[in-house]
Amino acid sequence: MEEARDYQVNLEVFQGPLDLLLFLIRKKKIGIHDIPIATITREYLAYLSQKEKINLEREGEFLLIASLLIYIKSQMLLPRESELVDEEDPRKILVDRLLDFQKIKAASTLLREKEDQQTKLWKRSAPPPLPTTEDTELVEVSLFELAEAFLSLMKRKEQENIRLIHGKEFSLEEKMKELIDRLKEHGYLDFLEYFNDQESIEEALISFFCLLELIKARIVIAVQESLFHPIKVWPKQGARP
């Protein structure tokens, strides 16, 4: 009754049906390449029958392998005219799977050893006190950022309920000249500051389009000292306004 006692082992100790099969094969001390399929199938099924109810969700995979075993057994029983060559052996599909699985199991053992070693090495989970980052490098800003800064300013202006001064008209040409003059005089222009100085939304809009034109023509360059810092406008070196 040795077998019956062995079957008391819970299904849960096995990592699936291949694990159980390997266990049965090793217990019999037989080679994977020469599985006595009838015996193993009997033992495998006896093992499954230990369970009163099969939970399909959890144990469906055990049944799949059971049906594979029965299929192989039936193939083995078919009368054949000549000796089986390796490729035709109906057990091959199972043997290949067992060999692959065996390697994965062995690899898991080796990885577990590495894990054991590594868990003794402790790494820092948070950085040490770091210098405060003050990024002073100049980065060229994209048109998007420029437009966005302008947009936020316009919103603010609206909230401030600035009254619109009507009747005063600005030409693009005039504004362009004013912008260039201001750049010449100060060397650079603080984007937000400049627009804040504009008296109305219309005037600011015209100035903004002028600036876009100048950037497009590569006469001026817009730079930002770091993200979310004021955008400054400089005449582009080598470009003649």
């Binding site: 994965i104 080796l110 868990t119 090495l121 040490p128 770091l130």
Partner: protein
């Protein structure tokens, strides 16, 4: 000059929470030549290995990283009030080994290799960032394919995916098991 570069690199590795690789060090230490940098790293690693120290520089996932030495594990666990560091479940480890040795691999392939549905353990490995999705297989249904990550390498102390236990090491284990049975 070289001594100072060694110190620069020491401070960089120290600040970095993930292995800092040579390329990154080079792109930061632009004042120094590649040869100088490589020599300085060599010196740095050796200075930690040769001295009696509580911490060391290890190589993992192609980079350099500080860690404590294993002999001080018990005191650190006292400090952190931990019985043991948590480890991967058996199912997760087996799934991870399957991905590592068969990558790029699909969920269906992993499940077939293990003989059980691997989706639950794959999920926990994805969440732990030990495994990642890297696209789709050009086969019917275009299933997602999975690979191990750099974090996987660091977790097991491997510098490169080629450092995984070799076929020979695996076969050796299998032979030993046969003898034991």
């Amino acid at each position: 000059m070289r001594t100072r570069l060694k110190d620069v690199i020491e401070s960089l590795v120290f600040v970095s929470l993930e292995p800092l690789n040579l390329e990154k060090i080079k792109s930061i230490c632009t004042e120094f030549s590649n040869t100088e940098i490589e020599q300085a790293i060599q010196e740095l690693v050796e200075s930690y290995a040769s001295n009696d120290r509580g911490i060391q520089i290890i190589q993992a996932a192609g980079g350099y990283l500080f860690s404590t030495k294993s002999e001080y594990d018990q005191w650190i666990r006292r400090l952190l009030s931990l019985e043991q560091k948590s480890k991967l479940s058996h199912a997760a480890l087996e799934t991870l080994a399957t991905v590592a040795y068969h990558q790029p691999v699909t969920l269906a392939e992993i499940s077939a290799l293990r003989g059980v549905d691997a989706s639950h353990s794959l999920k926990s490995l994805l969440q732990k960032k030990l495994v990642k999705i890297t696209g789709r297989k050009k086969s019917p249904g275009r299933p997602l394919i999975y690979r191990t990550t750099d974090k996987f390498l660091t977790y097991f102390g491997l510098n490169n995916i080629k450092d995984l236990p070799s076929e020979e090491e695996i076969l050796k284990i299998l032979d030993e098991e046969k003898i034991l049975d």
